[in-house]
Symmetry: C2
Subunit: 134 residues, 2 copies
């Protein structure tokens, strides 16, 4: 399926692409919309990232539905794809789950205070890729 | 000013960084939140991108407040920055403005049907950069 030159990706392909990146972006609605980059990993099909106390963590604590995005593109070739994951964000607080999250290689890039873990449940996964001219 | 290892950027630095990228992302709230990559250019301090009829254009037509994001990062060096622009999105319909928008180098990457132009007014601009260890 293709719409306006964009191929609609199967969920399995989206899941494969989600494993290829290290940095994604979390979108927050609310009074002031924001898109914030995060270092993430996939775990049991869901998105896990570290954060410091702040907007992202507040969203998680409130069980908000958030959108998480990854993409990759090539400016020269006009190639690229993007994947969106939409689901509720929750803080990981169970000790066994926290211990597991700590093994996902999510060392913080910016300071060591980023010690809370958030999971975005992959309720809805969608993706699109630019169709290259034949 | 730095918060949790992130330097809060001045508006002038955000505006400089906005000129350095070609691809950004538009965040849409509403029933189904989404983050969609777009090819963009800056014009008179605002964000301009092309789109096809769809969620992004609908948002524009409804004068919604949207968030536009650009970032750049280096996985090896753990370096990076991001900028958010928040403001109302409107379709560019005035002939003179359309003619100008057509000169911004926004050739579509995915098919030629992407022939509508949207402006996001840069009401609020914010940015952060990862502070590198000394």
């Amino acid at each position: 399926v293709s719409i306006y030159g964009l191929e609609v990706l199967e969920r399995s392909e989206c899941e494969r692409l989600l494993e290829t990146q290290r940095v994604g972006r979390v979108g927050l609605c609310g009074d002031e919309p924001a898109i914030l980059p995060v270092v993430y990993a996939m775990h049991n099909g869901d998105v896990v990232f570290r954060t410091a106390p702040g907007a992202k963590l507040i969203a998680a604590l409130l069980d908000q539905v958030v959108v998480f995005e990854v993409d990759d593109y090539d400016v020269e070739r006009h190639a690229g794809w993007s994947v969106n994951v939409v689901g509720s964000a929750t803080e990981i607080v169970h000790p066994a789950e926290l211990a597991k999250a700590d093994t996902l290689g999510l060392q913080p890039w910016a300071g060591s205070a980023r010690d809370r873990f958030v999971r975005v449940v992959a309720d809805r996964v969608s993706g699109r890729r630019i169709v290259q001219p034949a």
